[in-house]
Amino acid sequence: MAVVELLLSPLPSHVRTARLVVVAAARRAGLDDELVDELRLALGEACARAVGLHARHVPDQPVQVTISDTAGGLSVQVTDQGPAAGPAVDDVSAGLLESDGDGSRSDFTGVDRMLDALVDPDVALAVVTGLVDDVDVEHGPGGTVVTMRWPLPTAAQRPGGTAVATS
């Protein structure tokens, strides 16, 4: 099993860093291009959600991202220490239309205000679960763990896989 682990301070710019690292690890593991796009978006949503919650509630604590390449496939886990998510959002468009996206809440400043205006944690989670077939969301007293899994092609299915397998 190969593992990459990241600890992110809750800054918006680090969400992109996490996307770049996870995509690089997924490509290296041999994930199909189409699934790499799915992973990029799902990971981006999960990280933006976690970073937003941390910035607001536990700004000194890092968000943890773990990518594991196992025999069963690729597993990507985002662990936060924020408060539990709200009720599941059935209609994502309604959630987005209700959130103003305009930063009208004035009781936050700087990064907090920006994140509060932009990241609706429930909408982000709904996008993740809508996007990824194999996803678990565990809410615990200490935070939330989002685990996403994708199948990896076997060595024989990869382009040039036979050569890799025999070399």
Binding site: R16, R19, L96, V119, D120
Partner: protein, 117 residues
């Protein structure tokens, strides 16, 4: 890649349209820049916007939130916000979130500028 933004005016049958050409990544880090651009345009009286997303490489729900915010602002002035997008990976997030019902999505800037409905 960072976010790139430029605007130009095109004339259509319904009047002038402000075309906002967006490139790069729209995410939690760059979305505020797009939001400011849309707010500036509406504040300066430009209520009919066409957002060209053909150069967008990544869009997440924070970017969608900004577009929804822009749509609400132009609607408050009887305006419109049309999107130009043919990229499947970008269209996918509009479908997942149900926003294809909210935004008119066109396959070219010409088509969006010509639209009057």
């Amino acid at each position: 890649m960072d976010l790139s933004l430029s605007t130009r005016t095109e004339s259509g049958p319904g009047g002038d349209r402000t075309v906002v050409v967006v490139g790069g990544e729209i995410d939690v880090y760059t979305a505020p820049k797009l939001r400011e651009q849309l707010i500036d345009l509406v504040s300066s009286g430009q209520y009919h916007l066409v957002v060209d997303m053909e150069g967008v490489e990544f869009l997440d729900s924070t970017g969608l939130g900004v577009l929804v915010g822009g749509l609400k602002r132009v609607r408050a002035h009887e305006g419109s916000l049309r999107l130009v997008c043919t990229q499947e990976r970008i269209l996918k997030i509009f479908r997942i979130t149900g926003l294809t019902k909210v935004f008119p999505i066109h396959s070219s800037v010409e088509e969006a500028v010509a639209a009057t409905d």
